[in-house]
């Protein structure tokens, strides 16, 4: 082969075999292994197990009886499925845009350079994030009580009709559940956006101002495009938490899914089926519906993001 005249090799060093490279980096693999081990044991394994369960009937002990697609057939005929899907979707379609919009707006406001007390506002807005949903739920139960609640008392004081918040009016009940979620998480979202805003070089704004852009143009032309990655990350995370565990504790403590099941989310239904009803197979099938849904939404978001980024 091409040995050069001076006597040393000009071609690349022979590549070490892969197993050799892997062995040399065994410590690195050890460092990253906890994630993969826990993922296989506590996510992938239950997933496969649940998949088998969703095609079966199980009393909680002994072998799983194979029933084919029966669970899925029952689930598709169940009026609860559509109801829970619609409820979860309503929460999703209301909460994600509102929290996105309000948090972004607040972040922009709290990023104004000479706004006095912005650090204090930031601190106070974050406070609800440290609370426990169940504990705040207790407080909301009392605040939004039909007869003695402070919110209704406030409405009466300014001459409005009291509202049957949690037990009688489906839209009011939905509102309280959504409001609890917004109340708790808004501060966290604001901080996330503030982090993004502070990463933007001030010189860019200086330049825009010299070019004659007013603050409205600066927001649309500069701030928003630069925040795209965070907005995207945020919306994916919000979707996952909303369709998943985020949509459990609030309706569970506030309404138990009522009135008329109109605040029952998919997560709450899974719990009612699986734990309270001991219908493991059905609830597993239900869970896979959610998985499909979330993966679908996630894929749509990724596609949207690609289109939007260009």
């Amino acid at each position: 082969m091409t040995q050069s005249l001076v006597g040393f090799r000009t071609f690349a060093r022979p590549v070490k075999p892969l197993w050799r490279q892997v062995w040399e980096h065994r410590l690195d693999y050890l460092f990253i292994s906890p994630f993969y081990i826990t993922w296989i044991l506590f996510a992938a394994y239950p997933f496969i197990w649940g998949l088998r369960l969703s095609f079966g009937y199980w009393k909680g002990f002994g072998p799983i009886e194979w029933v084919g697609l029966e669970n899925y057939a029952i689930m598709l005929k169940d009026p609860w499925l559509v109801k829970c899907l619609v409820n979860t979707f309503e929460f999703f379609i209301v909460m994600v845009p509102i929290s996105l919009f309000v948090a972004l707006l607040l972040a922009v406001v709290l990023n104004i350079k000479n706004l006095a007390g912005k650090g204090t506002f930031r601190t106070l807005y974050f406070m609800p994030y440290v609370t426990n949903t169940i504990m705040v739920g207790i407080v909301f139960l009392q605040l939004f009580d039909d007869g003695y609640g402070w919110v209704n008392a406030g409405l009466k004081a300014i001459g409005l009709q009291p509202v049957g918040w949690l037990r009688n009016n489906i839209w009011a009940a939905k509102f309280v559940v959504v409001f609890l979620g917004l109340w708790q998480n808004m501060g966290y979202y604001v901080l996330m956006f503030l982090g993004g805003l502070q990463g933007i070089e001030p010189e860019l704004y200086e330049q825009a101002r010299i070019d004659g852009a007013n603050s409205w143009h600066q927001f649309w032309g500069l701030t928003l495009p630069l925040l795209k990655p965070i907005i995207f990350f945020f919306s994916v995370m919000a979707t996952i938490s909303l369709v998943g565990a985020g949509a459990f504790a609030a309706p569970y403590i506030l309404t138990q899914g009522g009135p008329e099941g109109e605040t029952t989310t998919l997560m709450l239904r899974i719990y009612q089926l699986g734990i309270q009803g001991l219908r493991y197979g059905d609830s597993a099938a239900f869970g896979f519906m959610i998985s499909l849904l979330v993966v679908g939404i996630g894929a749509a978001q990724v596609r949207l993001q690609r289109a939007w980024m260009d």
Binding site: D28, I32, P34, F42, F121, M127, M192, G274
Partner: protein, 293 residues
């Protein structure tokens, strides 16, 4: 004289709308403060009122008829609430320590080490974040209880949470930002082993990141609800949130509201103190934009 007057007049054109704008802004911001703070006030004062005062036709926005500690007394003496409260702390502490340790290690490896398949493994990890683990919560519960036989232990709340993709990505981001590659090379030349490099060089430099992750995970761990609800049932080991829903759900005892509010206050107060103590680290870390991932 005339020139200064025109200048001043021109400035007023700007200053007055600006001042009105600011005033409006502050009104909105203060209104939001009220919304965010008021439930805390309601929680604390309600815990100090008798049920009759709490549910009166005219709301008592403060304990008008004297402070009443009955809720706290019943809660702490008859129901031994300190135990579930401590359990909440215990769950959160062990969970957080594991998460911070394993996330920092993996984050370091992904950020600064070059091993075969690294990018593919990282990509796979990000992909798993898109799957909602909660959707398979019933199979998860059955595996925990029937396969691993972990019912009524804290293992299901700890071990599966110890190496979260979210934490690893966050630590990777912090490590990339905080440590230049030259420093890694220098450590290697000095003969510093991989683990020693991690302990001596990486950990001290990413402490702000570790603090953020620890604070956020401590809050989450303390407030866990769904998982404890599934796997914990023995009165000795339930956490605070679970005990509250027991009070509400079972109706074994008359729902004494001042007691529920006392429980809520006792659970919230330590977290508020925790937040105000570590507020600077948390906000500083989050504002450095490391969550972008």
């Amino acid at each position: 004289m005339t020139t200064t007057r025109t200048i001043r007049r021109r400035q007023w054109n700007i200053i007055i709308p600006h001042a009105i704008g600011r005033l409006f802004l502050y009104i909105v911001l203060l209104l939001l403060v009220f919304i965010f703070i008021f439930p805390f006030w309601a929680m604390f004062v309600s815990s100090l009122m008798k049920d009759d005062d709490l549910f009166s036709s005219k709301p008592n926005l403060y304990p008008r008829y004297g402070i009443n500690w009955d809720g706290y007394v019943v809660l702490l003496r008859d129901y031994q609430f300190l135990r579930p409260l401590w359990n909440s702390f215990y769950i959160a502490i062990v969970r957080t320590v594991g998460i911070v340790f394993f996330s920092a290690l993996a984050g370091f490896a992904f950020a600064k080490r070059h091993f075969p398949g690294r990018d593919k493994l990282l990509w796979f990890m990000m992909l798993t974040m898109m799957l909602p683990a909660q959707a398979t919560i019933i199979p998860w519960y059955l595996v925990m209880v029937k396969v691993f036989k972990w019912a009524n232990t804290y293992w299901p709340l700890w071990v599966p949470a110890w190496a979260p993709a979210f934490g690893i990505l966050m630590m990777r981001q912090f490590t990339v930002q905080a440590i230049p590659d030259e420093m890694m090379d220098a450590a290697a030349i000095d003969g510093c082993g991989v683990f020693m490099t991690f302990v001596r060089i990486v950990v001290p430099l990413i402490t702000p990141g570790l603090a953020v992750l620890a604070i956020l995970q401590f809050i989450t761990g303390f407030n866990l609800y769904l998982e404890p609800l599934l796997v914990l049932s023995s009165p000795k080991i339930i956490n605070a949130a679970l005990m509250i829903t027991w009070f509400r759900g079972t109706q074994v005892i008359p729902p004494r509201w001042s007691m529920l509010f006392a429980a809520a206050s006792l659970t919230t107060l330590p977290m508020l103190i925790f937040y105000f103590v570590f507020q600077k680290q948390l906000v500083g870390g989050l504002l450095s934009g490391a969550l972008k991932g």
